[in-house]
């Protein structure tokens, strides 16, 4: 697939990295800065063109005429839309634009079709969605949904003294009588797709596949709280906070918003009449105490400064009895350091944006012979969970799973058949029309047959 990426910020670079690594993509990036282009071209398998994404000569040089897709992710909404429009006119390719201004959020959907946009991505809204999902099931660190929301992959940390400590993966079903499947374990810096004999330890980050009820039951049995949070404190009143508060209030969660700009506070007050908007500096710990951080069930730091967010979350953690923490991180790239801080859930809006777009592209390829329905990056980006639809005469159907010759590091995690969810065991058989969720450390699978050992 020929892809043009306009704008080489964090999202653009992440996309260049991920898309360039896939063998059948020809990626060209456009950015006005020479230094950025030479960095990206040097690091990833992409071509670079220096210039503006709305200059028709530059688009031409990037090969817009033959392109299949243009992704506009510059810092400016207007430029992104303009660039997509021109690409559409010139090359008749699919286009994706990042549009982030809340005032555009609704109006853009109105003209989406006229502009010929295949997808509009709003990083703040996407991040808010992720956070809201986590707050609805606070015990999980990460939640990814499949099969139209009926199946989830939940990531959680095994607590000290849990029944799971020192338990073999194969014993979970018999001992706890729960229909869940462990599809990944992260320990130290390593990620495993565990076999039946793998022994879990306290402190492991475990990802399980289950139906929504199954997950709740499982959490109850291992002694983790499952009810959604009743209230939350959000520090920082930016766009993400606005979207998040809106979603939380809708599902009946009390929201307290702390913002230090008075004008913005007044604005938020009008936009979110049900929320408590507090004018003050979130980094003032006296203020946080006064606002009841000790008794809050969740705490979300969404200021524009990553370091402040991290410190705020650590402070809240030290004061809260048992609350859910969510920390937004925009720029810092030190994953290893941050995951060592035990911050609960961290949200990277840029990664989410990139992931949404890649998902969309996989789905787009779907129409040209690729069968991925949904895709999520799990286990700290070290593995992918992919949902495939099984077509007629698929090589994996009609044989029990334990007789399929799978490649290494592959797990068939879930089968959905006509709305029914099957957590597969060796005897189960995949049938035509099913959707199957596969967890793998391989990259770039496009069809369910990719999971089989090459004949």
């Amino acid at each position: 697939m020929k892809i043009i990426i306009v704008g080489c910020g964090k999202v653009g670079q992440k996309l260049a990295q991920k898309l360039g690594a896939e063998s059948d993509n020809d990626v060209t990036v456009i950015d006005p800065k020479q230094s950025v282009i030479s960095d990206v071209v040097g690091q990833y398998d992409v071509m670079g063109v220096i210039g503006s994404g709305v200059n028709i000569d530059i688009l031409d040089e990037a090969g817009v005429v033959n392109a299949d897709l243009l992704i506009a992710v510059t810092g400016s909404d207007e430029l992104n839309l303009m660039s997509c429009l021109m690409a559409k006119k010139k090359g008749n390719c699919q286009t994706i634009a990042r549009v982030r201004k809340p005032e555009y959020a609704k109006s853009v959907n109105l003209i989406k079709e006229d502009l010929g946009l295949a997808m509009i991505i709003n990083p703040e809204q996407a991040a808010a969605q992720e956070i809201a999902r986590v707050l609805r099931l606070p015990s999980a660190i990460q939640i990814d949904t499949f099969a139209k929301g009926r199946v989830e992959i939940l990531k959680f940390r095994v607590p000290e003294d849990s029944v799971l400590d020192n338990m073999k993966v194969m014993e979970i079903v018999s001992k706890l009588n729960c229909d869940v499947l462990v599809c990944g374990v992260e320990r130290d810096d390593n990620a495993f797709i565990p076999g039946g004999n793998f022994v879990l330890k306290a402190g492991d980050l475990v990802s399980i596949v289950s139906s929504i009820q199954g997950g709740v039951q499982f959490f109850k049995k291992i002694g983790i709280k499952t009810h959604r949070v009743k209230n939350t404190i959000i520090v920082g009143g930016g766009d993400t906070a606005y979207y998040l508060a809106g979603q939380l209030l809708q599902s009946g969660i009390d929201v307290k918003l702390i913002e230090r700009d008075l004008e913005r506070c007044e604005e938020l007050c009008q936009l979110l009449p049900k929320a408590t908007v507090v004018h003050g500096d979130g980094s003032d710990n006296w203020l946080l105490m006064e606002q009841g951080v000790e008794h809050a069930e969740s705490f979300v730091s969404l200021t524009n400064i990553d370091e402040v967010n991290i410190l705020l979350s650590l402070f809240a953690k030290s004061k809260m009895q048992s609350g859910k923490l969510v920390t937004k991180i925009n720029r810092i790239a030190y994953d290893e350091v941050i995951s060592g801080l035990d911050l609960d859930t961290t949200v990277y809006p840029k990664d989410i944006t990139a992931e949404y777009i890649i998902k969309f592209i996989r789905a787009m390829k779907n129409t040209i012979g690729n069968n991925v329905e949904t895709m999520h990056m799990i286990l700290d980006d070290k593995a992918e969970a992919l949902e495939f639809r099984i077509k007629e005469n698929s090589p994996v159907s009609g044989v029990s799973i334990d007789r399929l010759k799978l490649k290494k590091n592959i797990l068939i995690a879930c089968i959905t058949r006509g709305g029914k969810i099957i957590i597969p065991r060796g005897r189960d058989i995949i049938e035509k029309g099913d959707t199957v969720i596969v967890v793998t450390t391989h990259k770039g699978f496009e069809d369910i047959s990719d999971i089989l050992e090459d004949a």
Partner: protein, 479 residues
Amino acid sequence: MNIRMILYTLGWVLNIEAIALLPALACAFIYGELATVPAIVITIVLCALFGVPLIIKAPKNKGMYAKEGLVTVALSWVVISIFGALPFFISGAIPNYADAFFETVSGFTTTGASILRDIEALPKALIFWRSFTHWMGGMGVLVFLVAILPLSGGSNLYLIKAESTGPAVSKIVPKVRQTAKIFYSIYISLTLIEVVLLLLGGMNLFESLTLSFGTAGTGGFGILNSGASTYSPYVQIVITVFMLIFGVDFSFYYLILTKRLKNALSSDEFRAYIAIVCVSALTIAVNCRHLFEGFGETLRHSFFQVASIITTTGYMTTDFDLWPELSKVILFILMFVGACAGSTGGGIKVSRILILLKSIGKEIKVAANPKSTVKITMNKRLVEHETVRAVNVYIGTLAIIFTASLLVISIDNMDFTTNFTAVAATVNNIGPGFAGVGPTRNFADYSVLSKLVFSLDMLIGRLEIYPMLMLFAPRTWKK
């Protein structure tokens, strides 16, 4: 620095060299030169002995950054030259190892300078190997490696950058590996076309192959003591055309293949290159018309010699040392100009000269009107300040290396023209110079020290200075 990855890559380079020696081995059997067989076999075994253990386990950390890229390329070239010299040395064809090393470096760097007084006395297998080094060195061993090996992602661009020529190396398609493959496909195809054309001219396969290798890499090792002077006019014309073809940026051919002829022809560098060739050849033809019978023959010789020198090949059809001063000086200037960036040729490169001339123009404009904003453009595109700076420093550095080399080799007490053109001919990867190292003479009379200096100059010229200098910078090896 990721030493494991560097060693791993070096291992592959050695294995490729072992494989590259096989055609020469076949040659030895075909021509019944059984005496040279052991020398080649021993070299192959030695290459594999060092090469195979290094590649058994791929390092976990495959990070290749700018520094690793430069060091890998420089080390690879030194190592292939050290091993590539063994067949000459072990077989006794070149009894002195320093001489054999000089000859091999001259081969890989596509210089074509020789220490052999009598080429025809060499076994055919070794003549073949000598020419084959040109072909390998022309496009580069590491470019080949990147094309065939699925190494890690885009960072291999650093390898290609360090090995390819010109001020701004870039990809022609998004994938580095694909880019390398395209370059090699074009390279192989063009070489084959030349082989066929030479065969049609009545040459035998051995001659066609070796001469084509020498042309493709813009090397210049001949197989006869008389160079190319005894070949038919048809053969000389074919070689002239192909020398010029291999002196052009390879992305030029990619543009043509992808039907973007207009873009290809609008390249400033290509136009300047053609203009320089034509003007120089015509001037020389007029200047030398009394030396040959008829203007046609004069033109043939002048074009051949101009092509040979500007592309830094170094073949010769006539002893141009006997030409009038004007012609000799033109050739001497062309030695420095060199071929186009991104070609297999050496020298400073036409694009660098263009940028230099344009910056001089800019300086004059700014001096006349200090407040005016002047920017340099190439192909109607702005040239980044960074590139201009790099070009200026490159030429400055080259001048310093030139001077230092001249100083060291002057110990041998040769005359000034010989010394001066000898350094020019090696650092620009041409081969023959004037006077004592003229087209009919060779480098045999220099001392071992001078030969080592020349070898270094050739490597510096081929790899465009910095990779080699990196090897000698203490900072590179500091932990």
